[in-house]
Amino acid sequence: MTRVRVQGVGTSNFGKQSLDAVDLVWAAIHEALADAECTPADIDAIFVGNVLAMPGTAQRALLAAGFARPPVLTLENACSSGTLAVHLGVQSVLRGESRRVLAVGFEKMSDTIDGPLPPDPSDPESAAGMILPAIYGMTAHRYMHRYGVTAEQLASVSVKNHRHAMANPRAQYRGEFSVDEVLASRPIADPLTLLQCSPVSDGAAAVVLAAADLDGAGPVVLSSEFESGAAWPARDDRVWNYELVERVAGRAFARAGLSRDEVDVVELHDAFTIGELMTLEGMGFFAPGEAGAATQEGVTTRGGRLPVNVSGGLLSRGHPLGATGVAQVAEVTWQLRGLAGERQVDGAEIAVVETMGGNVSGLSGNGCVVMALARDGV
């Protein structure tokens, strides 16, 4: 049976910067192709995740990087656009349509966005003022009420991910913050403060995926699952996104034949602090309401039992929407190859990536990808 290998990865720096989309994409592709020891001529198809760019930006950036003729598929699925590009690249190789593909994610935000993503006036809840920090604020308050999750537990996610990013030279923000400093940062949407929200970022990332029987080395994809949201709320008390992440993660673990305690490193969608806690629970790593205390105790810190977002995550590495999912795959690839430098998780053999995209009223999320990868030879 065909298996898919991550042959090479690359990223730009992350953060507000002068480089435009073409430059950012080139930085990522150049590094990924060199890492995979291949050229544009070796690539059968290109899958691109992006949310905000003008139509044609991806093709223009790819042309500059030497790509012409092979099919370019552009994908928009909110925050999971990039992960969806990787997922569809994996499926293309698994189905035998391609032998080697490139998945790219990119976003240039800082020239048009200043603050939260502007609400879409054609969506009824957005039109009523529901920006993304607000719906996560809703979830946070519900969690505090239902499970007794504390503001300090929420803040500890931010403290951890900013500290993790100290070891990531490409991260947007690096810093030692205390819980009190996180809570005292500017209020955004109660109870979430500025340091609990992912920033406006520019960046790109690329991965080369190939049939595992081709020459080359790199981690193997054990499973990759994508699903879209169900009607929300249902007649239960699950918070927004929970149903979707639980469903997709359940399939991904089953397909990979993995149990939760076999996972060595996780990169997941921490666009807001509450998102990391809720996602860890939805993925089955903790019982509902328990991820906050575990975070405070250091379980999810590098060196703990389950290191989560050792790159700094979206909160601190940055969150260039379309680039994020591909950057998550790049990070776990470096981890599984032992190339993560000062942020290396010792002996990492199994990694999981999760990205949630979504903002549509009445759905448990637009779409979610969960992917499991193993070190070469494991």
Partner: protein
């Protein structure tokens, strides 16, 4: 079949709050499944749970607070801070459950709320308002 020009389709009501006439309680215009216990304030032609046709429904402007937030960051074309409350609306007169409504209210009103509170909505000078006072039904 030869395709003819469409009549205007209707996804029906869109979650608008309607003040009651002559002191009557206000209501929200929404949609309800003809078969399953599914209701929404969003536009909806077909039930996503069962495929049945959705019909217009009136939901009372009262229910239980599911959660809330106060938006304090600057949002384009809006005045911050403002309050947002998710209210699980009471069911319509004909039976079934109400949808979860997102209501935008003054920030100060949110400070007085707790999750699980019974609340009602009304409009004051064109602005939606929320309070824990019970409406007579």
């Amino acid at each position: 079949m030869v395709a003819q020009a469409h009549a205007h389709p209707s996804a029906g009501a869109d979650g608008t709050y309607h003040p009651g006439a002559d002191g009557e309680p206000g209501w929200f215009s929404g949609r309800q499944c003809s078969e399953r216990d599914y209701s929404t304030l969003a536009r909806s032609f077909v039930c996503p749970l069962c495929g049945a046709t959705m019909a217009d429904a009136r939901f009372p402007a009262s229910g239980v607070v599911w959660s809330f937030t106060v938006v304090r960051v600057r949002v384009p074309d809006r005045e911050s801070p403002y309050g947002l409350v998710y209210v699980d609306l009471d069911g319509p007169a004909g039976g079934g459950s109400g949808p979860r409504a997102l209501v935008n209210v003054p920030a100060a009103e949110v400070d007085a709320l707790t999750i699980g509170d019974r609340v009602s909505m009304h409009s004051t000078a064109g602005r939606l308002s929320i309070s824990t006072a019970e409406v007579s039904r």
